[in-house]
């Protein structure tokens, strides 16, 4: 019976299997090849390669990496061409159902069910958008409420117009980009509503997407009610105080047929969790070492399923490392030390270091600082100090640091902190 069962499956053996063919999966694949891996396969749910890049037809991708401002599809194409040259295999419209024991991936596509045995697995599933219900906006349940990414897919991939009179909640980058995109397509973009006292997206996007087109940004505001029994008819927006309570008397109704939500992104890790990978409660992504290996040996993680990155350039740096190390997975573990997020720091990646060397750290701060000073402390001693030009929660901070054998051997943890001097 088991014999028969096995025959129904299509079996594959690979060196590295990468789950997700977006920017992280592509960068990891290319890097893995360039570092000597040969038998690489990338599995992706969509009918195309490039993930979310394909619908990001605006430019701004790869500025730091290539010196040129590319569109999403151009940026993806750069990696796709390399991948093709390297003979990296892609399986499209292929959904990974689970990661089993011994790093065997169960996947499905129109050809059937697959069991893919990999020496190493790289998780690169990306993230999903928060919905109306992540923040529980009360009211009716009409049509016309889209997450910004879904609206972007309809407009850019399928030429379908989602609305005429649009309010955008959340000033994340996708929300800002979509404000401009909808304006280009002739929609009336009434405004962008942001609960924080500052925009969540990159400053350049605020200028290029809102200011340049006279689209108002309502800071310290939120949508408090949704009205419309069939299609959306109007939303109520209100000003909020420091404790995020609605300031009475500031509520006003705005007539609109469409509400776009740009509320933030959630790393996709249902597969990782089922595979036994330990998740960091703050990042929502796997806990990884400096080689981007998760707590399950041989399973690596990169891209937005690890943490939500600000730019593709920064994401690619780490994804390439994951690709590089996934091959050399036989790491002689000197000793595990943990990296603690200290004062002012929300989280730091990697969370574990088990080998000395030059390490790329990424972190996010808890709140805005004017003259921040970054400290790395080991055994009560400062081993690193750096003055930063700014710090705010919307922007990721990254730095390189050489971690010596002595530091690893000395203590069980090091601490990264930031203070405003």
């Amino acid at each position: 019976m088991a014999e028969l069962e096995r025959k129904k499956m299509i079996n594959l053996n690979v060196d590295i299997a990468i789950i997700g063919g977006g920017p992280a999966g592509l960068a990891a694949a290319v890097s893995a090849y360039e570092n000597g891996a040969k038998n690489i396969i990338v599995l992706d749910r969509n009918g195309w390669i490039g993930g979310i890049l394909t619908q990001c037809i605006h430019d701004g991708f790869g500025v730091e990496e290539t010196g040129i401002s590319l569109t999403g599809p151009e940026y993806a194409d750069m990696y796709i061409k390399k991948s093709q040259k390297y003979g990296i295999k892609f399986m499209n419209e292929t959904m990974v159902l689970q990661i089993g024991r011994n790093k065997t991936i169960r996947a499905i596509n129109k050809k059937g069910l697959f069991d893919i045995k990999a020496k190493s697995i790289i998780l690169a599933m990306g993230c999903r958008e928060k919905t109306r219900w992540s923040v529980l906006i009360p009211g009716d349940r009409p049509s016309g409420i889209y997450t910004a990414g879904v609206a972007q897919a309809f407009i850019n991939l399928y030429n379908i117009m989602v609305g005429k009179n649009v309010v955008i909640l959340g000033s994340g980058d996708i929300g800002l980009i979509m404000a401009r995109r909808l304006k280009f397509e002739g929609a009336n973009v009434i405004g962008v509503v942001e609960i924080l006292p500052h925009a969540s997206g990159l400053p350049r996007n605020v200028v290029q997407c809102l200011d340049d087109y006279d689209i108002p940004l309502y800071l310290n505001h939120t949508v408090t009610y949704i009205k419309g029994r069939e299609r959306l008819e109007c939303v109520t927006i209100a000003q909020i105080d420091e404790k995020r309570n609605i300031i009475k008397g500031t509520e006003r109704e705005i007539k609109c047929d469409t509400l776009l939500l740009s509320l933030g992104l959630i790393p996709e890790n249902e597969l990782s969790m089922k595979a036994g990978v330990e998740i960091d409660k703050v990042t929502g992504g796997p806990i990884v070492s400096q080689s981007f290996e998760t707590t399950v040996p041989g399973i690596f993680a990169c891209g937005n399923c690890l943490q939500v990155y600000d730019t593709v350039d920064l994401l690619a740096i780490d994804a390439k490392k994951a690709g590089e190390y996934a091959l050399n997975k036989t790491i002689t573990q000197d000793k595990n030390i943990t990296i603690q997020a200290g004062e002012g720091v929300r989280y730091v990646i990697p969370q574990i270091i088990n080998k000395p060397g030059k390490i790329h750290f990424t972190l996010r701060v808890e709140k805005k600082m004017k003259t921040p000073m970054l400290h790395v402390i080991s055994d009560k001693k400062k081993i690193f100090k750096k003055k930063l030009p700014w710090a705010n929660p919307a922007n990721m901070i990254d730095f390189y640091l050489d971690i010596s054998k002595e530091i690893i051997n000395n203590k069980d943890s090091i601490e990264v902190s930031l203070n405003d001097k």
Binding site: I108, T131, W133, P138, S143, V150, N159, V162, D257
Partner: protein, 493 residues
């Protein structure tokens, strides 16, 4: 959908909720021409989809009441219906928990009513024994009700309606009854989709039942809409409870109180609240009630995590007694004395879902008094759903994909729903083709991303396979369009 000449029916049913659909299916066993008018774009569009989905045991209604009688009768036939029609049913049982000595007196009373109603297996259990079965529940004592179960209420209603269609009942969706007249022995029914006639008129319009009556006669009752809000929790919290957890019912309002209900699919429901409102169509959710639901649920499960909800909705109870009078009244199901041939179903609130199949049998009896019923020899049963693809064995899955590759394309990645299942949902015999129709039939879009990934693929299927213009693609009702045309007609190269 309906031929021009086919405008005369033996029976016209107004409302395609669970009651209307159950009656239509029961009557479809006989040689009758039947039509159902439903103003929404699909059946189960009102309260029938927005409730706890509980098959009640019958302990909550006074002995001898219609509520108790039909609930108990319904409860007994549900397993058979589930087997036959193919909607899922699980007898998960229910704990009614008493937090203290005072409340434990109430569960003793409930047990007594239950015994009087002939319900078996009722047990009063100590808190520590509850804890061994439900580790997240702390209570003083609890009444264990083993004969309570759960279903997906919309699946049940859809399976009844689709089976009725298979047996030649005409369902007219997006068809609102605008006017009714009775001349001699015939009802003249005016709708936005044409005029029709029938010998018998069944009023199962739910919360709108009074509006229908008043088209023919002066109603002798009032309807008091009472809204109940719910929160749906992410599946990852499904192991918080195994059975339904109910509080001791609050004395006023005649409702069962905010309870915690597992669902067939592994989500947990919190709710419903109870709030009398003026407008029966006002199905809003409110910040206040969302908080109340969480607070009340936390009284039952202190470890309930915050931010665990993935959706919120509300349903409207059809109450016949206003708030100040305490809310309790019995069902009314009877042929009108003033307008013979008009069969009214009034005030069918909880346990209406459980009672529906028994009520349908009762209505069939009433119909048989004026029309001689002849059994249809070729009555067919269509299983609403066998197992989902994701529940099948590897071998079964492989075989399906080999025969039809659309089984191999996952459309909804949160719930692992395949293209085949989406196409099947869109090919339903009722002709309901909204996004909600897909969601309620195969669950695509009901997971934690709430359609973020699958909506675009479903829209493409609706457009390409079903040739529906994108401007006609709807979320759930006639005017709930999703799109405003194309940005450009031809894709640029």
């Amino acid at each position: 959908m309906i031929h021009r000449q086919m405008k005369n029916f033996h029976i016209a049913i107004i409302g395609g909720g669970v009651i209307g659909s159950a009656i239509a299916w029961e009557l479809s066993k006989y040689k009758l021409n039947i039509v159902v008018f439903e103003k929404s774009s699909d059946v189960a569009s009102g309260t029938s989809k927005a409730n706890s989905g509980v098959i009640h045991s019958g302990i909550n209604s006074p002995t001898g009441s219609l509520k108790a009688r039909f609930c108990i009768e319904g409860n007994k036939i549900f397993q058979n219906l589930s087997d036959k029609l193919g909607f899922q049913l699980k007898w998960v049982g229910k704990y009614i928990v008493a937090k203290n000595k005072e409340e434990s007196k109430e569960i003793v009373k409930l047990k007594r009513v239950g015994i009087n109603n002939g319900i078996s297996g009722l047990e009063i259990i100590d808190g520590k024994d509850v804890k061994s079965k439900e580790p997240n529940i702390s209570c003083y004592k609890a009444l264990w009700v083993p004969t309570a179960g759960i279903i997906l209420p919309y699946s049940f209603t859809i399976s009844l309606a689709e089976n009725a269609v298979e047996n030649n009942v005409n369902f007219m969706l997006e068809t609102e009854v605008l006017d009714l007249q009775k001349k001699k022995d015939t009802f003249f029914i005016k709708t936005n989709n044409g005029d029709f006639q029938s010998q018998i008129l069944v009023n199962s319009a739910g919360i709108n039942c009074r509006d229908i009556v008043s088209m023919l006669e002066e109603p002798d009752f009032n309807v008091y809409p009472c809204r109940g809000e719910y929160l749906v929790l992410d599946k990852k919290y499904s192991n918080l409870i195994n059975s339904m957890i109910y509080p001791v019912p609050p004395k006023r309002l005649d409702v069962l109180g905010i309870h915690i209900t597992p669902t067939i699919e592994g989500n947990i429901l919190l709710g419903p609240s109870a709030e009398y409102i003026d407008d029966p169509l006002d199905k809003r959710t409110t910040k206040k009630m969302m908080k109340t639901l969480f607070d009340k649920a936390k009284e039952l499960i202190p470890s309930l995590p915050d931010n665990s909800a993935i959706n919120a909705y509300s349903g409207i109870r059809c109450k016949l007694v206003f708030k100040e009078k305490g809310g309790w009244s019995d069902y009314r199901m009877e042929e009108s004395k003033k307008t013979p041939g008009l069969i009214n179903l009034i005030g069918i609130e909880s346990p209406g879902l459980t009672a529906a199949p028994a009520i349908a049998k009762e209505i069939t009896k009433i119909v048989s008094k004026s029309i001689k019923l002849k059994v249809k020899e070729n009555f067919k049963t269509l299983k609403f759903q066998n197992k989902r693809f994701s529940e099948l064995s590897t071998k079964e899955q492989s075989n399906l994909i080999r025969n039809d590759e659309s089984w191999g394309r996952i459309i909804c990645r949160c719930e692992n729903i395949t293209e085949h299942e989406v196409i099947k949902a869109l090919s339903n015999p009722l002709g309901a083709q909204t996004l909600s129709s897909v969601k309620f039939r195969c669950r695509a879009g009901m997971g934690r991303c709430q359609g973020g990934f699958c909506t675009q693929h479903i829209v493409r299927i609706i457009e390409e396979k079903f040739k529906i213009n994108i401007n006609k693609i709807k979320l759930k009702s006639k005017n709930s369009n999703l799109f405003y045309g194309r940005t450009r007609e031809k894709e640029d190269d």
